[in-house]
Symmetry: C2
Amino acid sequence: MGDVNRATTAAARAPKQDRSRATRQRLLEAAVACLAEHGWAGSTVAVVAERAGVSRGAAQHHFPTREDLFTAAVEHVAEERSTALRELFPQGAAGDRRAVVEEIVTLFTGPVFRAALALWVAASNEEQLRGRVTELEARVGRETHRTAVQLLDADESRPGVRETVQGLLDMARGLGLANLLSDDTARRARVVAQWAALIDAALGAPEDA
Amino acid sequence: MGDVNRATTAAARAPKQDRSRATRQRLLEAAVACLAEHGWAGSTVAVVAERAGVSRGAAQHHFPTREDLFTAAVEHVAEERSTALRELFPQGAAGDRRAVVEEIVTLFTGPVFRAALALWVAASNEEQLRGRVTELEARVGRETHRTAVQLLDADESRPGVRETVQGLLDMARGLGLANLLSDDTARRARVVAQWAALIDAALGAPEDA
């Protein structure tokens, strides 16, 4: 009997957990879209809850404060993007560093970057946000750097290689900014082609070549 | 008599124009400081007028709308910075491109960049600002590019040179972002040293060498 009860409870619990996870996911995605479209000033828990089709109470159950919701949202999508990037090159990308550079730059030119930027700029003016966003940014930045090094087959023990990759990520961020107000696709493609070649030369032969 | 009257009027007008110019200047500088510190949401004509020690009426005489004031302010300081950059290298900088790269990056890491960024991000969410800031950004961007090409002694008729310089300016913007929430000075110095070397090699011998 005890076993049967436990099994029933577990079965009832599983769909509830699924629903809770799905609600959380919808809130995170709505939060990112909201930040990207309306900026920090226009992004509140209430607006996001409505957009996600979730009651305000349920939203606050998952994310007690506005800061909780939006930092969790940016971290969540940044992780998703990073995973997607690695999955694009399951064998690494030896021999096609240009494709890797293109994909890295793409990470910084969509709505996720706009959302992160809105949070970043708000954090620069709001004490309550600053500490959390700084920490989040450092974590996401380290992860992106690690992924870039791996996909580019870059040997960081060689002098200058680490800084070459860092500069690439800085450039990608700058290209994201340049795409904020107008469509910068054509110019960006030319810059990326040129810098992919410079970076390929600077990194030298892939480690496993 | 007519001549005397004209002379008197001109004499009275000159100091008045000077005062008006000084007021305008104070407003522009206060507007940039305000944007950098408080972001777009915290930046109004009234706040800037008080900071500049100017009546609100006088501020509105110079800048009828909030958009007028802040776009004029960012343009004004961007021009000042660009002039200052050229004056640092009155003979061009043949032979010391690293110094030029360092100074260009410095343009993007101070309060002026923070102010421009706040305006930029606000414009991405506010229709009223978007057109004007896009136009301003294009104008300032072209001017910065022209200055960079000249100071780096870059020959844009060579394939890839234009894109190399553009990528440098994108990287500089990205470094500005990286410096927004925490002091990135030490890391930035290493990235700039490495990228200055890459750029120097990519640009080839200076035109006049």
